[in-house]
């Protein structure tokens, strides 16, 4: 069954703060016959260091890409930041000879060379392109009946579009289709593709909280009962920081935030107890599980 085999790139934010995403994604992989090969010797994708050293960010990404090339596997990752940076740099290194020679100069010191024969995919892309929507639908045993949700795609899967996108950056559809495969209705709302601001929270915490609050307002106004995310950093903004936003702005949202694989797993009949829902700050269990 397993012709879907990938090197699993975990990244940093998931093991640090968001285990529920990994737990639920692994359940879905088991269910769909996606084989995840654990990745030893990995390092950060490089994105966090891009603002201070593009060279180091590129070298870190390139080292991960070399590990995948050595194993002759494609990389799958759950994080938009990792997917975005690895995809972007993989493309640049493949197409830009001058850059490739420069980076290979750095890699020589650690006995590696970028050759350009691997690819990087986000989990959502694996589901939509490799596994296919029809196969995803096949595992749905208990479709949601009256559940209305909204999606937050996040930035680095869509932009810069000429380097990373596999969906329309101004009007993305792939995640919506995957959500509707669970029976839930996916609503449109204002500024759907707008950034949550997570990347600058270490420099300025006010602006990301305002951005996230505005999105929560738009999602609520659309009538969504939950928000579906596919990036651990976005999850931190919408779920982990939601109580902080409620305190700061003196308003209640109480909007459950689910990782897409959690939503799919519930519809696939996997027990809510197996999905680490209790890790979330905003209570999910009563509100969403009941719709199954």
């Amino acid at each position: 069954m397993s012709n879907h085999k990938y090197l699993f790139f975990l990244g940093c934010v998931i093991p640090y703060r968001v285990p529920s995403y990994e737990v639920s994604a692994r359940k879905i992989c088991e269910k769909l016959g996606i084989e995840l090969v654990e990745m030893p010797e990995f390092n950060c994708c490089g994105l966090p260091l891009d603002p201070i050293s593009h060279d180091m960010a590129t070298a870190l990404a390139a080292r991960n890409l070399c590990l995948a090339e050595q194993k002759d596997l494609q990389i799958v990752t759950l994080c938009n930041g990792c997917a975005g940076n690895l995809r972007k740099i993989n493309k640049e290194l493949k197409e830009n000879k001058e850059l490739r020679e420069k980076i290979n100069g750095y890699l020589k010191g650690i006995g590696m060379e970028f050759k350009g024969n691997t690819d990087v995919k986000h989990f959502i892309q694996v589901l939509s392109e490799d596994v296919g929507l029809e196969k995803v639908k096949e595992i749905v045993q208990k479709p949601f009946k009256n559940l209305k949700v909204a999606e937050h795609y996040g930035c680095h899967l869509l932009r810069p579009s000429k380097e990373v996108a596999f969906d329309n950056p101004e009007n993305p559809k792939v995640l919506k289709a995957l959500i509707e495969a669970t029976g839930a209705k996916c609503l449109d709302y204002i500024d759907e593709t707008q950034c949550c601001g997570a990347t600058i929270i270490g420099v300025n915490s006010e602006i990301p909280l305002e951005l996230t609050r505005e999105k929560l307002i738009h999602v609520r106004e659309a009538g969504a009962q939950a928000l579906i995310t596919i990036c651990p950093s976005c999850h931190l903004m919408f779920d982990t920081n939601q109580p902080r936003i409620e305190r700061k702005f003196g308003e209640k949202f109480d909007l459950p935030v689910l990782h897409y694989p959690q939503l799919l797993a519930l519809a696939a009949g996997i027990s809510p107890d197996e999905l680490a829902l209790k890790e979330h700050k905003v209570d999910v269990s009563e509100k969403i599980v009941l719709f199954c």
Partner: protein, 176 residues
């Protein structure tokens, strides 16, 4: 409030600054910006910041306001969402130009504390964050496999050859 007369101070311009940025990979498109403002009007951060305006940073860079641009806190507010780059009608790689400016600011000694911390975590552990013993135990309770071990020696060598080590070591701990 007392009205105070503002005395205009001369601004130091560096006519070579523009060329310096355009010579660095990612900075090439600085020249073709015609100041339409699509970047700022598309920017999620600009909507909530009183000071961050990507169009303005590009303009100041074109004019050669080197020290003002590189020492500015607002340079660090770009969230790298790339909406500006995607929507620019001229094809200016706005986010990349800003990244080139930030990288240069670091060489001049302006490094926000958070980036020092991220770099130190990555050099020390391979991860951008310090993963605690509790978080590792949590993984076991969830039945997750052990955390991959990073190769710190390789990372240290890359930091040496890309000059990252030098950039964050030599400048004390002061921050923007």
């Amino acid at each position: 409030m007392e009205a105070s007369a503002e005395i205009a101070k001369p601004i130091r311009l560096d006519p070579r600054f523009r060329r310096e940025i355009m010579a660095i990979s990612g900075g090439e498109t600085l020249k073709i910006c015609f100041q339409c403002g699509t970047c700022t009007s598309s920017c999620p951060i600009a909507r909530f910041s009183r000071s961050y305006r990507p169009r303005q940073i590009i303009q100041m860079t074109q004019l050669g306001m080197k020290s003002k641009v590189l020492s500015s806190d607002t340079l660090w507010l770009c969230a790298a969402c790339f909406t500006c780059t995607d929507r620019c009608p001229q094809g200016v790689e706005v986010a990349s130009v800003l990244r080139v400016l930030r990288n240069l600011a670091v060489k001049e000694g302006f490094v926000p504390a958070v980036y020092r911390e991220l770099a130190s975590n990555i050099l020390g552990t391979g991860y951008a964050y310090r993963i605690t013993a509790l978080q590792i135990r949590n993984r076991e309770e969830f039945g997750l496999p052990p955390l991959p071990k990073a190769n710190i020696e390789d990372i240290a060598k890359l930091a040496q050859s890309t000059d990252l080590s030098k950039l964050i070591e030599t400048r004390g701990t002061s921050s923007v």
